[in-house]
Structures are given as structure tokens and as C-alpha cells.
């Protein structure tokens, strides 16, 4: 519901990794630790104070890039923004058909009793997996618009999943 600013610094560039959905988790982590080891403020406690500001910004960028790339959804978003800056916000308006379906989903979550909840959770999981596969496909075809629209649709499923979990906990 609010517009997230584009990252000024591209997370793939920050970590020096290829811009693709298919990042290997172990490679990503190893790269992150390697960079942290030299860039973290603790390693540079004695540098001049104006250099320290830049140091802090760099260390923050490395942490934030790792967080973004570790999760496939935010990774996909970063790829979209790389291909077409602003595209995620530009595709936020979804079709009436999708929204009608989302409304039904929200109602199903609100009404779900304990025994129906597990089936519903499974349905949400499967839907999200399918959307993610479609996003991957769109991105391999350099179709940032479709990928971004799918990302916006995924939010409704994610919100439904979170609401359902919350409800089960209560």
C-alpha cells in the first residue's frame, strides 16, 4: 500500500554477482561473508570519521543486498527494477477479475474453520509456487512487465497466507 523507493544501489552489483533468479544459496552466502569481513565497521574502527560514514553506508548496502537476494520474491523484484525502473509500482493496478478472486480468497480466510484451514494453506502455498515459476519464466524472457504484475498479484496471496497463520495462532 505504499510505494517503495527504488534501490539506488543494485544488490547484484553490490555483491558482485550475476543478475539472475538462479543464484546458488551457498555462493550467495559465501560472497556476503567475504565482503562483510572487509567492509564491516568493526574492521575499520580506526578510520577517519568522514570515511566512517561511507563505510557505514557500504556495510549497510551489503547487508541489505544480501537480505534482498536471499528471498526469491525480493530477488525477483530487484531484477524487475533493474530491467525497467519503476515497473513494479506502474503495474500495481490489477484487473477486476483478479481482484474479485482476491476478495473471495480473503473471505475464505476470514471464514476458514480449523479443519478447512490446512487445505486452504496448502492451496495458498501451491498458488505462490506457481506464481513464482511464472515470474522466473517471464524474467528469462526479459518480460519485466509481466513479472512485475505477477509480483503485485502475489502480494494478495502472501497477505492471505499471513492472515491465515495469524488466525491459526490466535
Amino acid at each position: 500500500m505504499r510505494h517503495v523507493l527504488l534501490r539506488l544501489i543494485d544488490p547484484f552489483e553490490t555483491l558482485g554477482l550475476p543478475a539472475t533468479m538462479d543464484l546458488d544459496a551457498a555462493t550467495l552466502e559465501a560472497r556476503y561473508l567475504e565482503l562483510s569481513r572487509t567492509a564491516h565497521p568493526d574492521r575499520n574502527a580506526e578510520v577517519e570519521s568522514d570515511a566512517q560514514v561511507a563505510m557505514l553506508a557500504r556495510a549497510a548496502a551489503i547487508n541489505d543486498a544480501f537480505r534482498t537476494l536471499r528471498d526469491p520474491w525480493t530477488r525477483a523484484q530487484a531484477l524487475c527494477e533493474r530491467l525497467a525502473p519503476g515497473v513494479v509500482a506502474a503495474t500495481a493496478k490489477l484487473s477486476p477479475e483478479f481482484l474479485a478472486g482476491a476478495m473471495e480468497l480473503a473471505e475464505a480466510v476470514a471464514l476458514a474453520e480449523r479443519d478447512a484451514a490446512e487445505a486452504l494453506a496448502e492451496r495458498i502455498r501451491r498458488a505462490l509456487a506457481a506464481i513464482l515459476a511464472d515470474i522466473r519464466a517471464a524474467l528469462t524472457h526479459v518480460d519485466a512487465r509481466s513479472a512485475a504484475r505477477l509480483l503485485n498479484e502475489a502480494r494478495y496471496w502472501q497477505k492471505a497466507g499471513a492472515d491465515l497463520r495469524q488466525k491459526l495462532r490466535a
Binding site: H3, L33, R37, L56, A60, A92, L99, A102
Partner: protein, 582 residues
């Protein structure tokens, strides 16, 4: 200090609720500092003598029975809660750090992982007031993991369970090639051995049948001490007894069994296990993926605690470092890293609680989520609500809940000088930067014009250094009143925020007239109570009454917002509260 220390020294300090201690790195590894009697644990107690003299540590503890009204225990529970001033003195440890070439002693201080931003700031300020240069704030469980000879040479995932006198903390760390990365932390800043003592003391009092004397603070102190002594014995024995001196000249024998005691504290212990569960789920791990479980803190010696942790973690916890010393030793190791002495280790710590900004309707928009690795920086864009709005209010909150009323306000500032524009047109970019100590800085820029404002977040009661100093001397006279005052201040702040927030929410929300009427009435009442400077009880009754009313309404409003979100127009950008158009 018997061992030689060379090079620039940074001292690690574990400021505990019940005991404090310090350690440094030597050629032979980290060592705790001891006082002239060879004691490493310094009681975190301050005594204010009637003549104005101040005693700390063991000397203060010795006065606790004679001066029950003038000794302060467990001061850490007050840090950053408008009681900042006192702890500065508490931190004056009875040993002097012998100064090297540099004048200011450089230290690393530990805080519970769950300390919020205000409490971290207050700890740093207190160190400064005590003449120390605080180079880093480290989370206690993280420090403990460092000490655990989990020396970075063996990779794995570790859960650190720290149950002390006043606080409970749990952290999950991953160690990879010398990098200690915190994956998640959880805890409770008001849960520890002190609470067990109180429960047991209540039982002892009930058993002695001497309820009439409970108002006598000497008796209360004696009871608490007896309870603690019994509790500690019950960690080794199935039952224990003690002669209790009830000041009336009468003595009585009190006894307790481990089974009864364990039953008494079971729900509190279960709360710690719930925190462990939450930390694991935040770290996206299963219990089976833990390689080690480490117990820290005096209260982790209680057999029930060990049993429950072992059951939960499905493995025997490690206890091979003295749980009293682990945190200070770990702080010394981190101090050594900062002094440049150890280039093999690195700590990557996290933000313990989410940070966000208030948007219209008293909702907190989170920018930094809990357990984000620090340093971190997040920017998001907001806009205005009203045509011609020339200033926006930036109210910074900390906490996991949705509404400002349920989160803690850290700071507020204004971005002024926005040229009048139609609502929604200004683009206010808000940046949260959290540094390696977990301390927050917030910046706001209007992108079309470039006007900007920023703030380094200080505790919400926003004291200047001078104010802190003068409060410090005042505190020496009013050590006890401060605790009551603190509650009053917190309630007043909450009340003011509620009046303000609810009025704004009323303008926005579309409520049936009868609800508007009853809310307005409750707000007006609270406003009157605040203006009259009413006592704590009255204030609490008024805030509670309003909370009950608004909770229901908030549910309705949130419900309708969700409906709106599902309509076919996307919601506009979040808008910030601000001044009326010119």
C-alpha cells in the same frame, strides 16, 4: 590485574541486573578483572547514605538491610525508562580501570538483546557520564556465544539461552569461518530470577502467617533475601530450610521443596521456551538444525530450566563456561576485535525490534524489520494528506504491533518548508539508518524541492546531557520516588499520545454517530484527567477506558481498509500526519 596487557586496551563490561563484571583480552585469552578481595562479581547495587555519600557494589549491598529505602537493586530494569540518571552511578564499578596512554577508558558494554533503542542510548550515555568511552554495545547472548570457545574454528548453528536476574534473552547464531552472524533474537526484558524470588517470598510469607508486617520494607528485604537463598539451595537439593528474622524480634523457620518451587515458576519458564520457539521460527530453522545449545545466566542453573531447555532443543545443553562469566569474557573478545587485536573474528548483529514511522490514522509503517542485520539502511516514500500542507510530522516508533498506541515512541521531528502543493504530490523520502550499535538515525527529504530534516534518535523523553546531569544529582535524593515517577511519566505520555491519536483517527474514520459520541466523551475525560495532573490510578483508569473503546473501533476501521484495498483502485501512498494548510 595480574596479567600483562599490551597495546591499546578495550575493556568488556557485562552490566548485569544483579551483578556486573569486566574482562580484558590478555596474551593468554580473555580474563575477568577482580577487585582487591579477588571478587569478580560486583553486586549491581547502589546505596544513598543519608549524608549524601554514595556506595556501590558490595559496600552498598552491606547497607541494604539498614537502609532499605535508600538502596537500589536491579537498576538495569530502569535503564532508559526515565531512570537513566541513576544507572550512570551504578556503573561506577568499585575497581578503577587503570588508564593507559589514552585518557578515556575504552569499553565494550553488553545489553540484553531485547533492549530497545532508548535503552541502548541510555546505556551509552551512562557510560559517558561515568567517564568511559563506549566503543560498542554488544548483545549479551552474542557475547556469550563468543566466549563459548565456539571460537570461530568450528562452524555451526547455536542457540544461546540467557536467563539472568532480571532479563531473559535468546539468540540464534550461525558461525561460519569466524563470522558470527545473529539470525534471530527474542526475549523478555522483565523476566528473570528476581521474579522467582518474589513468587517464593510470597509463599514464605503466607506460610509464616505474618501478613501484617509485609508493609515493613526491612521485612520485605529479609524475605526476598531468604527466598533467593532458598531458591539457590534448591538447585542442588530437593528441599531446604532457613531461619528467618522477622524484625519483630521473632524468628521463624521457613522451608521449601524443589517440587513446589518448580510448580510455582513453571509458567514463567514456559514463557522462555515460547521465546525460543519464536526465535527459531524467525530464523526459519527447525530444532533439528541446531548444533549446540548454550546456557548462560545464573538462573539457568535451576534444574527445571535445564530440563525444559534440553527437552525443547532435543539435546543436552553445553555448560562448560561459567555462566556468570561468559558474557564479560565474550565482551572482552569483541573489545579485542575493535582494538584491532583479532582480525579473524567478526560479529554480525541484528535489530531486535522493528522500527517504523507513524502514518495517518495512528498506524505504524515499518521500515526496518526485526532481525535485520546491522548496519542497515532503508528508504521509503510517503506523501501528504491535505492540499497545501507545508510540513509533515515524523513520529518514529519501535515494536511489532500495527498501531502507534501499542508501540513505543522513540522520537519525533518535523519536515517544514514544503511549498504548498495538492495533497499526494509531495514526495517525502524517509531513510532509517541503523548503525553497528543498533542506534537509529532518521532522515526525511522532500524530493521535488530538496528540503530535508534529520534526527539522531534519543530516548523519547529526549533529555540533553545537562538535564541528565542535573537529574543525576536529583536522583540521589529521590531514588525511590523515581520509580513511581517513571510510571506516571509513561502513563502521561501514553495518555497524551492517545488523546492526540484518537482525535485524528476520528476525523478520518467513518463511524456511526453513537460511537463517535462515546469515543469523544472518553477522549474528553482523559484530556481533563491529564490537564488536572491526576495521580497514577485515575490516569490508568482513563487510558484503559479509552483503549477498550478504540480497540473495537480500530478493528472495524482496519476491516474496512482491507475491503478498500481489495476494491479496484489501489490505495494511495501512505500519508504522513502534519500541519494544517496555510
Amino acid at each position: 590485574m595480574t596479567e600483562a596487557v599490551s597495546g591499546p586496551v578495550v575493556v568488556g563490561i557485562d552490566l548485569g541486573t544483579t551483578y556486573s563484571l569486566a574482562a580484558v583480552m590478555t596474551r593468554h585469552g580473555p580474563r575477568v578483572l577482580r577487585d582487591q578481595d579477588g571478587e569478580a562479581l560486583i553486586p549491581s547495587v547502589v546505596a544513598f547514605e543519608p549524608d549524601g555519600t554514595l556506595r556501590v557494589g558490595r559496600a552498598a549491598l552491606a547497607r541494604a538491610l539498614d537502609l532499605p529505602d535508600r538502596t537500589v537493586h536491579s537498576i538495569k530494569r530502569l535503564i532508559g525508562r526515565a531512570g537513566v540518571e541513576i544507572d550512570a552511578e551504578a556503573k561506577r564499578l568499585p575497581y578503577r580501570v587503570r588508564r593507559g596512554a589514552r585518557d578515556l577508558a575504552r569499553v565494550v558494554m553488553t545489553v540484553p538483546a531485547y533492549f530497545d533503542d532508548a535503552q541502548r542510548q541510555a546505556t551509552k550515555d551512562a557510560a559517558t557520564l561515568a567517564g568511559l568511552d563506549c566503543r560498542r554495545i554488544v548483545n549479551e547472548p552474542t557475547a556469550a556465544a563468543l566466549a563459548y570457545g565456539i571460537d570461530g574454528s568450528r562452524d555451526g548453528t547455536v542457540l544461546v539461552y540467557d536467563l539472568g536476574g532480571g532479563t531473559f534473552d535468546v539468540s540464534i547464531l550461525r558461525i561460519q569461518g569466524g563470522v558470527f552472524r545473529v539470525l534471530a533474537t527474542a526475549g523478555d526484558t522483565h523476566l528473570g530470577g528476581d521474579d522467582f524470588d518474589l513468587l517464593l517470598a510470597g509463599d514464605l510469607l503466607a506460610a509464616s502467617g505474618a501478613t501484617a508486617v509485609v508493609e515493613d520494607s526491612r521485612v520485605k528485604q529479609a524475605l526476598r533475601r531468604a527466598a533467593e537463598a532458598l531458591k539457590i539451595r534448591l538447585s542442588d537439593a530437593e528441599s531446604a530450610q532457613l531461619e528467618l528474622d522477622l524484625s519483630t524480634g521473632r524468628t521463624t523457620t521457613v522451608h521449601a521443596t524443589r517440587a513446589d518451587f518448580e510448580r510455582r515458576i513453571a509458567t514463567l519458564v514456559e514463557r522462555t521456551i515460547d521465546c525460543c520457539r519464536r526465535a527459531l521460527s524467525d530464523a526459519e530453522l527447525d530444532v533439528g538444525q541446531l548444533d549446540d545449545v548454550v546456557l548462560v545466566g545464573g538462573s539457568s542453573r535451576i534444574p527445571l530450566v535445564r530440563r525444559r531447555v534440553a527437552e525443547f532443543a532435543q539435546r543436552a545443553p553445553r555448560t562448560d563456561v561459567d555462566p556468570d562469566l561468559a558474557i564479560a569474557l565474550g565482551a572482552a573478545i569483541q573489545a579485542d576485535v575493535l582494538a584491532g587485536g583479532n582480525r579473524a573474528l567478526l560479529l554480525l548483529d541484528v535489530v531486535p525490534l522493528s522500527l517504523g514511522i507513524e502514518t495517518m490514522g495512528g498506524v505504524v509503517s515499518k521500515l526496518v524489520l526485526r532481525n535485520a542485520t546491522i548496519p542497515t539502511s532503508v528508504t521509503e516514500e510517503f506523501s501528504t494528506q491535505v492540499d497545501g500542507q507545508t510540513a509533515v510530522d515524523l513520529n518514529v516508533y519501535q515494536g511489532e504491533r500495527e498501531r502507534t498506541a501499542d508501540c513505543r515512541k522513540l522520537a519525533s521531528f518535523k519536515l517544514r518548508g514544503i511549498p504548498p502543493m495538492p495533497a499526494g504530490l509531495p514526495r517525502v523520502a524517509v531513510t532509517f539508518l541503523v548503525d553497528a550499535d543498533g542506534v537509529l538515525r532518521v532522515t526525511a527529504v522532500e524530493k521535488r524541492t530538496g528540503v530535508q530534516a534529520s534526527i539522531q534518535v534519543v530516548p523519547s523523553f529526549g533529555l540533553t546531557r545537562d538535564e541528565v546531569r542535573s537529574m543525576m544529582s536529583a536522583a540521589i535524593e529521590h531514588a525511590r520516588d523515581d520509580m513511581a515517577a517513571r510510571e506516571l511519566v509513561e502513563l502521561r505520555n501514553k495518555g497524551l499520545a492517545m488523546v492526540h491519536g484518537t482525535r485524528r483517527a476520528l476525523e478520518l474514520a467513518d463511524l456511526p454517530p453513537d460511537e463517535v459520541y462515546s469515543v469523544k466523551k472518553a477522549v474528553a475525560h482523559l484530556d481533563r484527567v491529564l490537564a488536572a495532573g491526576a495521580p497514577v490510578d485515575e490516569l490508568r483508569a482513563a487510558t484503559d477506558a479509552l483503549s477498550r473503546l478504540t480497540a473495537q473501533i480500530a478493528d472495524d476501521v482496519i476491516g474496512s481498509a482491507v475491503k478498500k484495498a481489495l476494491g479496484d483502485t489501489p490505495l494511495p501512498k501512505s500519508v504522513l500526519p502534519g500541519s494544517e494548510p496555510r
